[in-house]
Symmetry: C2
């Protein structure tokens, strides 16, 4: 489907919009007929609004197999590592030509928390099919990850109301 | 639908992901049952991938009434201003309670190019229904816009391959 070389994109930084930008890219790519997959590495069991919508879109596959550590819930660390291993296996399948655009959501967080070795991300980048566009998200991208990627965007928080007491809201934050 | 106070969010900066983050928010909000509208202020006649997909999603209305100046095409400036006036009128309708989440895509660019007065953005913010979430995108947000908004994120370009000759690609850039 994609005739050009697929790039490796990273969305990182402390600001909003990393996952949503990746979701927006998916929506755009699916609209142009590209086969897309998003794999969540760090989501809780709560089904987010975007996944409800995305699952209904043609050309898009959603997989949530990652840890729910990010939600602050207690979880057996061994279970987390096992589920992340599965997520890595699925990622390798996804990038090897099955899909035109693959989003590995919060994989950088999983790596920066030490839950997966960073070398696995480099392995995924290495086996990626030439035409596949690969999107990695998560705060804390290391210099080596930035060096490896073709296109890196930092979401920088300039102003945030949560500091002043606004809580996470359904439909906006998840 | 939204019980909480709706915020005013801005996505600005020179990096990728401003429009896609807004689209991702729309997709998320629509999935949670919120009524959403996106109005494009600066798009060309080319129908983007995200609009093809978004138009098919329940709860989402897409409007492209803005200028195509951004595409570099020749266009009568009077026509541009007239179409942007219409976009502003539609924006005011949209934020006054008809929708739970409204994205005014590239409205900040329209303002920074002097095609609409910045005061119109403040007017829209002022008449916004309390519960409505308002998302403004575009590079070049002024200090007064940042001051007015509740949540501001800057997309900062850390690394970009177009400098090395990669062209805009269907499904990825539009």
């Amino acid at each position: 489907m994609v005739s050009e070389l697929g790039l490796i994109q990273i969305y990182t930084g402390d600001g909003k919009g990393k996952t949503t930008a990746a979701v927006g890219l998916l929506v755009r790519a699916a609209g142009q007929g590209l086969r897309c997959q998003i794999i969540h590495f760090m989501k809780s069991e709560i089904v987010s609004g975007e996944d409800k919508t995305l699952s209904a879109i043609k050309n898009v596959t959603v997989m949530t197999i990652g840890s729910n550590l990010i939600s602050g819930k207690n979880q057996n660390l061994e279970e987390v590592r096992t589920s992340l291993k599965l997520a890595l296996l699925e990622s390798k399948k996804a990038v090897s030509g099955e899909y035109d655009l693959v989003v590995l959501d919060e994989i950088i967080v999983a790596s920066s928390l030490g839950l997966i070795p960073e070398s696995e991300i480099f392995e995924i980048a290495k086996i990626k099919a030439e035409a596949t566009e690969l999107i990695l998200t998560g705060r804390g991208a290391t210099d080596s990850l930035i060096e490896m990627a073709d296109l890196v965007t930092e979401m920088r928080e300039i102003k945030h109301p949560f500091a002043t007491g606004v809580e996470a809201r359904r439909g906006i934050e998840f």
